[in-house]
């Protein structure tokens, strides 16, 4: 089980990094998820994919952290810290980072659906199970999320911003 969990860590980190842009905060989430998985191992249904179960745990931890951050009137976790100095270089890299920044501006419920479907390439049904919502809701959140992201992306790509270069 431990070995199997370790093998899933890269995917957990990728999912977490999309939910929380700050690397440390995302890894904190993954770490808590691993600990939770090992303590709740008895609850794991071997019929289910381990990754899907771990995603469920991670996502629930994420939601409860958002909630407690809000209760404590903290700065929302999503905003993250200023990014540690990655040398701005390739256009592709710039686009990628811009994308992550835009993603953070979506509501968490759209963000998680987008990440599971578009990045983790899970089916609507698997995504629905992880999030505990009907597949129809997955589809509507996905549509809204993609639409919003497109709009933000178009604003960001708009010529007035380009001229600064």
């Amino acid at each position: 089980m431990r070995q199997a969990i370790i093998e899933e860590i890269p995917h957990l980190r990728r999912f977490a990094r999309g939910l929380l842009r700050d690397v440390e905060a995302a890894d904190d989430l993954v770490q808590d998820c691993i600990v939770r998985a090992l303590t709740k191992e008895a609850l794991y249904d071997p019929e289910r994919s381990l990754r899907a179960w771990l995603f469920t745990l991670l996502r629930n931890l994420f939601v409860s952290r958002l909630r407690s951050a809000r209760l404590r009137h903290e700065r929302p976790l999503e905003e993250g810290d200023a990014e540690p100095g990655v040398a701005a270089g390739q256009t592709e890299q710039v686009l990628a980072r811009q994308m992550l920044a835009l993603l953070q501006r979506l509501p968490a419920e759209q963000r998680e659906v987008l990440l599971l479907v578009s990045v983790e390439e899970l089916t609507y049904r698997e995504t629905a199970e992880i999030l505990g919502i009907p597949p129809g809701t997955v589809m509507s959140r996905l549509a809204r999320g993609r639409e919003a992201l497109r709009r933000l992306q178009q604003e960001a790509d708009a010529p007035p911003l380009r001229r600064v270069k």
């Binding site: 860590i9 990728r14 691993i34 407690s68 990440l115």
Partner: protein
Amino acid sequence: MTDRPALEDATLHAYLDGELAPAQAAEVAARLEQDAGARARLAGWQEDRRRLKAALDPVLAEPLAPRLAAAAWSAPRGRRRAAALLARVAAALLLVAAFGAGWLVRDAALSPAQVTAFGRAALDAHRVFAAELRHPVEVPASQAGHLNAWLSNRIGVPIAAPDLSSAGYRLLGGRLLSEPGRPVALYMYEDAAGRRLTLSLAHSRAGDGTGDLTFQARGRLQVVSWMAGPLDVALAGELDGDRLRGLAELVAAGLGRHA
């Protein structure tokens, strides 16, 4: 195409995500030929998906963070019997992983999650308060008696700021912080060069216990945390591990409990 309605967005998303049966997908593909608007929408989403993956896929190739490997190996299950073996496996893993990542973690293999979490909170507290030039503490060391009594009262365990002067650190004072669900006492020290050290103490949720030192780092900042009797203890500063370990021993002795 004349009598056909435009392709619906829901269908297009399902097409993009491979959710359609082959026959349906073929039909959508054929209809897309005639529907420039739908093609443009689809292309936009496709491009965003590509960028999103390009942004996040590199995470898969990152070296395994030592603290995550440690978390997977340290666990509540099969603690005693497998402990020694696991510690060695984890140590080996950490050594390998520490090269790639900016992390330096030692002795973390068998520490309970709570100790790790407390260390993390102490790191955050250090980052916030050690940077304060003018108001680093609420109560200065000149009122040490009052400070110790106040913090003891608030956290519910009798404590006194350990004397670290033999290591070159003098007490600046202290303050009270809050973690969800419990108060935390923070003592701050400073050496002759103005480098600061923070000591966080809280009433442990785990009850009485003692534990190994758990080291974690964020950039140049290091923290060591452990359990000492009824206390969760964490010591943070911009120090190397050996120096921090020495100070932790001093703190443990000063608290009158074993580390």
